[in-house]
């Protein structure tokens, strides 16, 4: 297991390098001069020159590139142009909030999505199935901020059950209350994805010969579903949950903005509004690294749910 993990990590290095290159190119997409874009047209030539020197923009492109890759690999993502603090420190300050939100959403999505998908598959082509499919398709269609706004209007503005602002709080109970709406928003979207994949994966497995054999042998329906069908249907489900992690992160950014909740989303919005390009660039690297990491974890989870997946491959 450990050896596989290390090999998988090593395989991620070229991906990581390529990702850093893409980010480097993207940041240099700024039409004209990045320094002018940041400081505005009215900035004095001295200020522009100072900023160019600080960002290393006055150096040849290959020197900039090598310096950028070297720094990034050493874990130095630069310093924020606005706060002057290291990007990693800025990220570390708010990361727990985003992780907490995504984890809560994953739990909600799995706890509700998995049984709903199984149910829809078992009631195939009846009204329950049509209802579930329409429900999950609706969930898939929501941009993260639209569902967040509708939840906010319903539960915070009209029913007044939960707070409108989900800002940080030291009190654990308030903290949990603040988490409910944002987590529910992301969780429902995740639920829609999981329900859909679970349904189609279960339908595939339920048609297999071994399930028919088990049924013919008189295996109890609950045992048939849990042990024979769901266990084998889990592999594609895990893949899709891993794949949609990127979507989840994107939606968490929007969710945090709507609920004015601290986290990476608010950090991104701040960086956008203040044209803090080093912070944006750093955040991009952090997000993409997360996705790469989740892909590795997904590969590892395969082996746990499906013994046929050989780790030595």
């Amino acid at each position: 297991m450990m050896r596989y993990f290390i090999r998988r990590l090593l395989l991620a290095i070229p991906t990581l390098l390529a990702m850093l290159t893409v980010v480097f190119v993207l940041v240099r997409l700024v039409p004209g001069d990045a320094a002018v874009a940041m400081l505005g047209d009215q900035a004095s030539e001295a200020n522009l020159a100072a900023l160019r020197a600080r960002l290393g923009l006055d150096q040849p492109l290959y020197v900039q590139y090598l310096g950028f890759i070297g720094d990034a690999l050493r874990g130095d993502l630069g310093t924020s142009l606005v706060s002057g603090r290291p990007v990693l420190e800025e990220v570390a300050n708010v990361l727990p909030y985003t992780l907490e939100l995504t984890a809560a959403a994953m739990i909600i999505g799995t706890v509700f999505g998995l049984p709903l998908g199984v149910w829809a598959a078992l009631r195939r082509n009846r009204w329950e199935d049509y209802f579930t499919r329409l429900l999950s398709l609706t969930g898939l269609s929501f941009p993260g901020f639209v569902s967040a706004i509708l939840l906010l209007l319903a539960f915070a503005v009209y029913l007044r059950w939960l707070p409108v602002m989900s800002s940080a709080s030291g009190d654990p109970l308030t903290h949990l209350r603040n988490l409910i709406l944002p987590a529910l928003n992301l969780g429902l979207i995740m639920m829609a994805y999981i329900t859909r994949v679970t349904r189609s994966s279960m339908l595939n497995v339920l048609g297999e010969d071994y399930v028919r054999t088990a049924r013919a042998k008189g295996v109890r329906p609950s045992r048939l579903v849990m042990r024979h069908a769901l266990r084998n249907a889990l592999v594609p489900i895990v893949t899709v949950v891993g794949l949609y992690f990127g979507t989840l992160i994107g939606n968490s950014v929007l969710t945090e903005i709507v609920f004015t909740r601290p986290g990476l989303g608010k950090l991104i919005l701040g960086a956008l509004n203040s044209r803090d390009y080093t912070l944006l660039q750093g955040l991009m690297i952090v997000f993409a690294s997360f996705v790469i990491l989740v892909n590795i974890i997904t590969d590892l989870v395969y082996s746990l749910v499906d013994p046929r997946v050989s780790l030595s491959k």
């Binding site: 390529a18 893409v22 039409p31 874009a37 049509y130 398709l137 901020f145 503005v157 939606n251 390009y277």
Partner: protein, 290 residues
């Protein structure tokens, strides 16, 4: 998106699409909704009761009434008229962005698959990295770098959606280039461009178009999200995401400013997703949802 994994070119019956529609009853709902929204976008000038940009400060923030069915916004502009004109922008951006992504992405995949070797590995390596960025964040980054405008928004969305098309075009190219008719083309001394354009591309164009229609839902969702963040088409031009952004400031007392554009986005994306499901059925019988 799972649509990115559809890379095979299965043989189809000519009326596969009609059959897919017959099988999947929901698809009629999707089609009806989409036709409705496209009609609104096309006939916006005829359907809109007011000028979407006309301000009327005396009647600002009015709730839905007989005069203004969907209420008015902070500047007294008619929400329904803005919603109708917003449909034009959303559909236009979604369509053009996907068209660009489809053209450029397929060209990249075609070239990579046709020439193979190191070029293929290099190009597909970049494509894989592009796929590892969350779509919304990549779009956000590019839009932020380029600056907020209609053209830049289209470019940003097109770049984020290029990678899946490269994948979709590459796989059939690899199998098609080994077929006899391509070999024959080589023997006759046809140029690479002629073989790719005349002999390979037409064999996979329907797959690419189907995948394109699937990605339009994502494009419209990304457009709305970026406009909500403030990276979209700038005011006063009405866009759905932009309307929600403006209405969000008054969320505590003017629900109609956010609810109606939200529903418009939801219905459009839902209609496209339902249709996408039906098209997926048509293109790949293995992925049938029934």
């Amino acid at each position: 998106m799972t649509s990115a994994t559809m890379t095979s070119a299965p043989s189809r019956q000519p009326n596969a699409l009609i059959q897919a529609f017959r099988r999947n009853k929901l698809s009629w709902l999707g089609l009806a909704l989409l036709v409705f929204i496209v009609a609104i976008a096309v006939f916006a000038p005829l359907l809109s009761p007011y000028d979407p940009l006309a301000q009327d400060i005396l009647h600002r923030l009015e709730p839905p009434s007989a005069a203004h069915w969907l209420g008015t916004d902070t500047y007294g502009r008619d929400v329904m008229s803005r919603l109708f004109y917003g449909a034009r922008i959303s559909l236009f951006i979604g369509f053009v962005a996907v068209l660009i992504a489809m053209t450029c992405g397929s060209a990249i995949g075609l070239l990579a698959g046709y020439f193979g070797g190191l070029f293929d590995q290099f190009v597909m390596g970049i494509v894989d990295v592009m796929l590892s960025f969350p779509t919304l964040l990549l779009g956000l980054m590019i839009a932020a770098m380029l600056g907020a405008s209609l053209e830049n928004l289209i470019v940003a969305i097109a770049i984020t959606e290029m990678a899946p098309f490269a994948r979709v075009a590459r796989a059939p190219t690899i199998s098609l280039k080994q077929r006899d008719f391509v070999e024959a083309g080589h023997a006759l001394g046809f140029s690479h461009i002629r073989i790719m354009g005349v002999h390979i591309l037409p064999n996979m164009v329907s797959d690419i178009v189907v995948v394109g229609s699937l990605w339009m839902a994502t494009a419209i969702r990304t457009e709305a999200s970026l406009s909500f963040i403030g990276l979209g088409v700038q005011p006063p031009t009405p866009t759905w995401g932009g309307m929600i952004r403006e209405g969000f400031e008054n969320i505590l007392n003017s629900w109609w400013l956010t609810v109606f554009p939200s529903l418009a986005i939801l219905i459009t994306v839902l209609a496209l997703n339902i249709l996408g499901d039906a098209l997926r059925d048509a293109i790949d019988p293995k992925m049938r949802s029934e």
